[in-house]
Amino acid sequence: MMNSKKRKRTGFLLILPLLILFLGLTIYPLIYMIYMSFHQYSLASWEEPRFIGWENYREILRDRTASSSVSFTLFLLFTAVPLEILLGIGIAFLIRDVWGERALRSSLIIPMTIPPVVAGIAWKMLYNYEFGPINYFISLFGLPKVSWLGSQFFARLGVLLIDVWQWTPFIFLVIYAGLQSIPRDVVEASLVDGASGWSAMRYIELPLLRPLIWVTLIIRVIDVLKLFDIVYMVTFGGPGSATHSYSFYIYKVGISFGWDVGYASALSVILLLVVTILTNLLIRFLRLSETLGL
């Protein structure tokens, strides 16, 4: 057997490539970003970065578009995410033990596998005002056509709907897999003892699924903070700034419209802080020491 010193050295050598990659590609950018968030610096001008203290952060509080992007992000967090979790759990219970459940499961997870850019194309066709199928369905009920991407309310609703379409399958898949891992005899024993299928679900299966639900909830919250592709493709943040997701707003400030590195960095630092807190929460719920045997 190897002695422990040699084991340590070999182990270190093996993780070295990963370490170098991440140090170069994440730690350095992180430091750069924090540094720039205290400076006025734009790639569009020739001026050197100028130290301005907390001014960029104060600017966030005054910035109307920033607060509108925060409000849109919060809107999604409080509508899309709960809806996805409820639907995902509901569908998992609905299709289990149905004939052909394997095929059903595979087809239901297609939306989450489609690259968001392509999903954006599909939905942009569906939302089309003049010729879109959704307006056609609406007209079948005798209702007037809806300008889906033209009004603030409907554009937000439109993004919400796409997010639900895309990510309910993820929750469904996780919960479904979780359900399969609950031992059958636990549930059957309760049924023999006279519990109804409904109360077995309510008092036995759902409590066992609770840690999984927390994990998916946190992952989804972080994903909403990262939301970008769909917004770029379907609404481009519009109309006005109604559907600026937080990530999209950073993109607009930092890249597409202004190259304002300083201000975009300050916005990114806030985002990173929130994501870091959530990730720590996630790590706690994952019970890593159990899954990995560390």
Partner: protein, 282 residues
Amino acid sequence: MKWLTKTIKFILIGMVIFFFLFPVYWLVTTAFKRSEDWFTWPPSFFPQHWTLGNFLGLEGGFFGSVTTAISTITPYLINSIVIALSVALISTIIAALAAYAISRFKVGGMGFVSWIISIRMLPPIAAALPLYVIFSHLHLVDTWWALILSHLIFTTPFSTWILITFFNEIPQELDEAAFVDGANIGQTFWHITLPLSAPGLASVSTLAFIQSWGEFLMALVLTTSKNAQTLPIYLGRFITGWRIAWGPLAAAGLVTMLPVVVFSLLMQRYLLQGLTFGAVKG
């Protein structure tokens, strides 16, 4: 009563399937519609005439804005293939080495693993701007390497994660037996662990491939021309304008999504493990 709950159940399942699959159905059928059928009222749900023209660049020439003629899409397709293949290869190698060290030698422990997770959760937009600045100093903007390196940030933690669980499932006694017989670590890894984990390696490289293939934000920020732009950027460029040439765009979308969807469905189990950090075995 029983038939009533059954009927309700089937109606609900029908609605669920309709909601989740109709957008896919619409994209796929539009890709095969003739240009007369793109803008009709009522919309054409079951096209009478099917055509391959959208794929070949024969339909909708009067739009002039978008075409999927093989010649225009080829540079983007090549970029996508080269970048995704390199990402798959490099991230699998780096991840396999690190995962082996974590699984067998417990290098870094919980702290290191947590760090890997936080990198995986990192919002791409936060990394994109600093990377743009760094890459422009290194003259890497608009090259394959800019995208390969930036995609590695997200694929490597994902792959490492899946491989740790994979290596953990291979009994450690096998390694020890090899050591006793006089093999060194390299030989043990190469002759024992690697062959046993071939399915795992195949899946993580496939998953890295599809993550890179569909990635949009980094490609949008870090590339500027068809020297390095990938298929998703090609798609993103042509979605503006008041009348979009739906047929060719849907056809290009179909080409972009097909490998991703097929491989994801085949790798469901590992996809799930990677997405939930092993919280679900799948």
